[in-house]
């Protein structure tokens, strides 16, 4: 119990430290939000035009707009910079500091990610409430208290699924040093199978089936589906179980990769 409290205090310290850094780089926040919104706008225009011209699309134009608005927000809330930051630190030899610190890297990265999240949320929340009010007044979906509660659980699980996936993939740099190609594959898969590029229900049935067992859906699309009340309680529970299974698998894979990979780490920088 004492160890957990110490770890939480450490995460809290990192969180506050990173918050201070955000106050220095204020423009970064604005750029970050704008860049996250531009791409969903492009996708939404494509599918909105399609919906206007098609009679058999399962989503209406308004539903598509609301989906992409929520996706843009969710992508920011569950986003982690761990993969990008850590793989570069390993490659450049700056990973050594984590090995020398009395506290490990996990607490540090969790604290850093959560400071990003809280700052983004604080900036986006007013817009989100306005959008929600507009969308709900048009009867696009019904938000209930239980939906909101389940949504928070889904978001917390999503952040851990994303975090440990990032940690595992970044530590592969201990073996292969440069992971630019892997990064491209990761982002492409994340955007397509997470539902950022296309709403998952619009994918062919076989592809939609695959997304249900991949981790990407549970980082972006699943919390939105829970929030909008689009899936049954049974599916929600199944989703939570899959999330927890992924967290365990990712954590175990991270331990293996770290233990074997650290023997290859040269700490020089390349």
């Amino acid at each position: 119990m004492g160890k957990i409290v110490i770890e939480l205090k450490y995460i809290w310290s990192v969180f506050l430290l990173k918050l201070d850094m955000w106050s220095v780089y204020r423009l970064k926040l604005i750029v970050w939000i704008i860049s996250g919104i531009l791409e969903p706008i492009i996708w939404s225009v494509l599918w909105y035009v399609t919906a206007q011209e098609s009679a058999d699309l399962v989503m209406s134009g308004a539903e598509i707009l609301s989906y992409y608005l929520l996706t843009a927000l969710m992508n920011r809330i569950t986003r982690s910079w761990t993969f990008d930051t850590l793989r570069k630190e390993i490659r450049e030899g700056r990973y050594t500091k984590y090995l020398l610190w009395p506290k490990g890297i996990i607490g540090f990265r969790i604290g850093a990610d959560w400071s990003d999240r809280v700052v983004t949320l604080a900036a986006l929340l007013p817009f989100w409430f306005i959008w929600l009010f507009i969308l709900q007044s048009k009867g696009l979906f019904e938000v209930t208290i239980s939906n909101i509660g389940l949504f928070f659980v889904a978001v917390i699980l999503a952040t851990f699924v994303r975090f440990y996936l990032d940690m595992f993939l970044a530590h592969l740099a201990l073996f292969w040093v440069k992971l630019d190609g892997l990064s491209t594959v990761y982002w492409s898969a994340y955007r397509l199978f997470g539902g950022i590029t296309v709403p998952l229900v619009l994918l062919p049935a076989w592809a939609f089936g695959i997304t249900k067992i991949m981790p990407f859906r549970y980082v972006v699309s699943f919390p939105i589906e829970v929030f909008q009340g689009l899936i049954s309680n049974e599916e929600i529970i199944r989703g939570f179980i899959i999330c927890m299974a992924w967290i365990i698998v990712e954590y175990a894979a991270l331990q293996v990769v770290f233990r074997v990979g650290i023997k290859n780490y040269e700490s020089v920088g390349a």
Binding site: Y25, V45, K178, D180
Partner: protein, 259 residues
Amino acid sequence: MRKIKVWIQFVVLYLKQFAVYRFDMLFRLFSMILMTGIMYVVLTLPYEHVDEIAGWKKNEAILILGFYYISNGLAWVLYRTGISNLESKINSGSLDEVLLRPVGSSFYVSYLEADVSRISDVLVGVVFVGINIGGMNLTVGVLEVFGVVLSLVVGVSIVKCIFLMVNSLAFWTTETYLDHVASPLVVLTKYPVDLWGKSKEIFYWGIPMAFLSTVPAAILVGKLEWWYGIVGIGLALMWNVFAETFWRFGLRFYSGASR
């Protein structure tokens, strides 16, 4: 000529670095194939529900995707990596050494890191365009080819200016990842800019991203005349003057101190 020789040296340097990381090299090739597959699926998915989107049929839209690959690939081969690293150079103060080089600083910053592996994008684009020209039975004259090549050169040149200007804002700000703001502009060229209704004119004449893909495809299928490419030269020159002026203005604010 001297600049071309310098650029060739950059390419040789890149190839040496590329060969060192063999796993990454393999993954890049794999990612290229995967990305192409994903893009093809994503682009053609709406056409399962409609015959035309904003006046463009499926084959024509694939033509646009082909031109997107060609121009985006060229942009990466030439300047995207170099420009996207500008902010970190300014932040770390390592732009000093660039300013001391015997070549123009904006040239050096832009073309230093030639990502030659992205030539694969260009090849994929050429295949897409070639297959579709054959499939659509298009008769392409010399003037059309001239117009298409000119549009691509114009598009790639203008995008370089936009990225250089956006990233040059790092002279005043820091830790902002400015490259992320400009990147979505390139994403929108995967599709016909006509999707944007009346606002499409912005992408033809304001921020002329249309020259990357929509204009060359439109010239090929006969939606636009070949001389649009010539009109684009004027735009490209204007953007180049803007970008160079902005770069020189920004340099005045460079302190050389790392942040």
